[in-house]
Subunit: 636 residues, 2 copies
């Protein structure tokens, strides 16, 4: 009965004692440590890779099943499958990011990068000596002098609207007030001491989704998060169709789309305030990121020219405007800031991602990919960062995929295929019966089919395999593979992946790889020079990094150098709200990151075609993947 | 027939040849030189004093009549009466300001002080290279870079509203546009080359009158002038009654008064634009001066506290706000600037006067008096300037005076009394039959009565004089003196000056003198230290400086050191519109001029009572005036 060995899970830091012979998975489940498992601990899906540190000689030997899923290098580094590995002595288990379930499915999420709390907007309580005949200084001078004496502030500007009630507020409050200072200006003056309540809102304006983060700027904490579909969707699902709508409807149409997004943000404000017990009037700054079209529609700027060649943005630098001018619900003096952009298809969201990923402060070379309908790729270090943007399409968002869907309850988010039996293991969000496949599952499907020999590197099905599995078959849309049988699902029909789906995925991943590869070519570096690959985007946290690499979505960079960061644009927006230097940093990024126009790159066409294959026509670019596929028995 | 002598009038510079024996007045009239004359050339009114330079020994000897009007010092300096002085040889005649008629009765007038043309708002025509795939810079960057290349401008800010149509304007204009730059921001962008049309408006917002000056900022010329009664007058004739009205009516009442003055300024804009063939949209900046209450009512700031002890202004520094925010008709991006103020009763009009009078640049001591319902007095030099404000009341504006009126056609603006016959000579504006007495006449009346021995230094009539003139009599309001008989007037009744009028004048002039005297005391200087006295105010140009001094309106400073400058506040407003450094200078004045609160000065009461006498209880302060009165035969 007495437990004899201690098992510690990292980076969670959870630990407990267990009887010898416990499997890693059993220990993990007992401690509530999240380790991915699709096949239910049968050693078949290979999703539960962990690294076993210590316990030398007392850990069970790798089984045949394990050896199928692990490369020699992985075994050398201590990687094992959690479900089949038994421990005989105290050990430390490192659970890599890719093997974690990621239960906190906050679609709005993203890395929290600690920044010094030093927002552009701050509150200062100030008490003033009442005037008398021998001290009849102006109310303005009295306020400014007291701010200087009590807070060391330089002589500040004062917003015009603050002047209007200045004489009344200071007297009603008996010369005890709180000044709200934005940059070098007083934007609001409040009676009494209100210095405890100072909020800001960071907003990621996506073409599809709005995500808002209410931040307590006094304490530097995110106190509420809310998301909404972008209310502009009825005017067009993508940026092109929204701009077309405006071209047809004129300035009235632009105003309608502006109103739509503003009303969406206002709903987020109300929801966040409700959650955090704050009032909209206590929000003194709002920071926005979004692509260049979202930027123009939010600001009400004519958007036509950014979507037609040569794709010139209207505004590059960050824009400050009174939130009230845009119709946003916040303090009347609140500032709305839209972060700067880089180029026609590289918006403030990318600036925020570069900021959050720290490329421009890095000595080493970093690549960052923000996967979306348009995918931006940044590559460089403190000396030079280049960015390009590729039209990767909406396949990874579930669109143009037969059973594709957004990541919600019931969507298949992970897929494993047993390379011998071709049984399919999957996990759905919320463990509900499947109703479709979301982004990370859409990445898994072709990778697993490839590993199992069910498709060829060119993407077509190996039709002879119909002899070995009835999951491969000809359906109404041509060849298809059954991921979930109708009886397992909530929709009554088989959930399949079709050849057409695979073609869509090939186009999408080829576009992204081409963008990445051409940047590397233009900067004259190769994979070995890249010390970190950051993958961002709404579903970024949930992609299987190895499967993404198997299909050639990005260059073959060692898995330990790949980081998934989720919604980094939102992270950057929060950083610029919390620290004023980050704002300058964003301007610096906007002016320094060099935009590479793929449409003007002569190498584009060839590289795109070569990138359509899984993982690539030039296999010398993917040696590890080739080795892995060969280990699975594929002739490549 | 051959003219033999040349007569030159200075400072007019007019000259012609005349037969010897010509009187100065005859020569002046022939040349259209304006020399004051009330008695029609009879040597009785003494208003036509000129200085005769040269012609030694050939100029007629001073007559007895002349000697009555001239002091020994004046005769020594060459002063003579123009009407009785005959010339025997070529001479130069200097016509002092006080003897000029000033026919250009522009009530809005004021000195034109030349400043370097360097306005805060300027236009820059800019052509940009059209974008293409290898130069897809943002429209913003393209514009800014071209402005830097073509005009050496630093990186400018851009007004939010300019962004909205930026992409359209540059393309419609085929990349040829005009940027309107205010300070360090682009406030408007216009298609094509509009750089020739750039206007600004300087506005003096008086309690009673609005005066606007449209200035061509490209050429530095005043191109139109317009004036209106302040449309706030129906809400109260003076500042106190307007503030009371607002106290009763609340923010709605404040808004009505703000709308009133704004509509008045808008009418001025339309009139000026019509006159100058300009459009309101071509006005890019408006500069306002006014007292502190007018400032707050224009800006819509709660005005109560500035009119009750301890009289604290709300705003001291200059205020910039979009003209559109105030409802002013101008370019949508135009800036409205209100000049800074100094203290509760010392407004931007005084800052403008200090600016225009150059006190703070002067090595020597200058006193400047801006006569109005409130009279501000500034005294100092580059080291220190002090200002105080005294409630001189509206007597000099014609109010509380039985036949007082504003300076319009038919108002008596100059009065002379023959000290022997007590005949009265007067001049009316427009030479129309008299209907009342305006400010300069109101100054003349007690001075002339005093010189003629009709009133005592304490202001009461010398009733024994009824024996020598039937103009002195007892009327319905007590003792009075007839200035114009009913048959001469347009109103059918005698125009008189009453004892009560004289009491009002005494109070007004005592307040002004007290303000001036106490400033001198506090700065520990006396009359001899003052190198220049500048008298400003709407009627300033038309006051007889000697008569004003005889009644003790200001300290006894030699007449040649007294300058009349008219509406110097308007002059200052124009200067700050035309030259950006003047704006900084105004801020410097606002912060450096030290406000002296008369209400807190212990010497006030005594000095005010002593100042009620004509010219003063302490005659040692007015030695020249005493000598003059004694020369006229007065026992003083």
């Amino acid at each position: 009965m007495t437990p004899q060995i201690e098992v510690v899970f990292q980076p969670h830091g959870k630990r407990a004692e267990f009887p010898p012979g416990v499997t890693v998975m059993e220990a993990a489940q007992a401690l509530g440590v999240d380790i991915s498992s699709l096949c239910g601990g049968k050693g078949k899906c290979g999703k539960c890779k962990v690294r076993v540190l210590g316990g030398d000689g007392t850990v069970s030997e790798p089984s045949d099943k394990e050896l199928k899923h692990l490369s020699e290098e992985e075994i050398r580094d201590g990687f094992r499958l959690a479900c089949t590995t038994r421990l005989g002595a105290s050990t430390v288990i490192h659970v890599p990011l890719r093997s974690r379930i990621g239960r906190q499915r906050l679609q709005t999420g993203g890395l929290e990068i600690p920044v010094k709390l030093d927002p552009l907007v701050k509150k200062y309580r100030v008490t003033m000596p009442p005037p008398h005949l021998r001290d009849s200084r102006a109310d303005e001078d009295r306020l400014l002098a007291s701010l200087t004496e009590q807070h060391g502030l330089p002589e500040l500007g004062i917003d015009f609207d603050v002047y209007r009630s200045l004489p009344n507020i200071v007297r009603e409050a008996n010369w005890d007030a709180t000044a709200v200072v934005w940059k070098d200006r007083i934007i609001a003056l409040e009676a009494g001491d209100t210095s405890d309540s100072c909020f800001g809102l960071a907003v990621d304006v996506g073409t599809t989704k709005l995500a808002g983060f209410l931040i307590d700027l006094k304490r530097g904490e995110v106190v509420a998060v809310a998301a909404r579909m972008n209310p502009q969707i009825p005017f067009g699902e993508d940026v092109m169709s929204r701009v077309s709508h405006i071209m047809n409807g004129g300035w009235d149409a632009l105003e309608k789309l502006q109103d739509a997004v503003v009303s969406g943000v206002n709903e987020i404000i109300v929801e966040c305030c409700g959650e955090a017990d704050a009032r909209p009037e206590e929000i003194y700054e709002l920071n926005f990121v979004g692509n260049t079209v979202m930027q123009l529609l939010l600001l009400g700027v004519w958007p036509r020219h950014v979507v037609s060649s040569p794709y010139t943005p209207a505004i590059r630098r960050g824009v400050d405007v009174k939130a009230a001018t845009l119709g946003l619900r916040a303090n009347p003096g609140a500032n709305a800031h839209h972060l700067p952009v880089i180029g026609g298809f590289v918006g403030a969201d990318n600036v925020a991602m570069v900021l959050a990923s720290g490329i421009l402060e890095s000595d080493e070379m970093i690549m960052a990919i923000d996967v979306g309908t348009n995918t931006e790729i940044d590559l460089g270090n403190r000396d030079l960062v280049m960015v390009d943007s590729c039209a990767s399409g909406p396949a990874f968002e579930g669109m143009h995929i037969k059973f594709g869907m957004r990541a919600t309850t019931g969507s298949i988010e992970k897929i494993g295929i047993d390379p011998e039996t071709f049984d399919v293991y999957y996990r759905t969000i919320g463990d509900a019966p499947p109703i479709g496949i979301c982004g990370s599952g859409i990445v898994d499907a072709p990778a697993e089919l490839l590993k199992s020999g069910l498709i060829m590197p060119r993407g077509n099905f190996v039709t002879e395999m119909t002899e070995r599995t009835d999951r491969l078959r000809k359906g109404p849309d041509g060849w298809e593979f059954v991921i979930a049988w109708g009886k397992e699902t909530d929709i009554g029909t088989d959930v399949v992946v079709t050849l057409r789906d695979i073609r869509e995925i090939q186009k999408a991943k080829a576009a992204i790889h081409t963008g990445a590869d051409l940047l590397m070519q233009r900067m004259e570096i190769d994979e070995a020079d890249i010390s970190k690959l950051v993958v961002a985007g709404a579903f970024g946290n949930y992609i299987d990094p190895e499967n993404a690499r198997i299909i050639g979505m990005y260059p073959e960079i060692p898995l330990e150098r790949i980081e998934f960061a989720g919604n980094l644009a939102g992270t950057g927006a929060r950083m610029t709200l919390m620290n004023r230097e980050m704002r300058e940093h964003a301007e610096m990024i906007s002016s320094r990151v060099r935009y590479h126009e793929l449409a003007a790159d002569e190498g584009f066409q060839k590289e795109y075609i070569d990138s359509l294959n899984f993982p690539h026509s030039d296999l010398s670019k993917y040696p590890e993947t080739v080795e892995l596929l060969r280990r699975y028995g594929q002739k490549i």
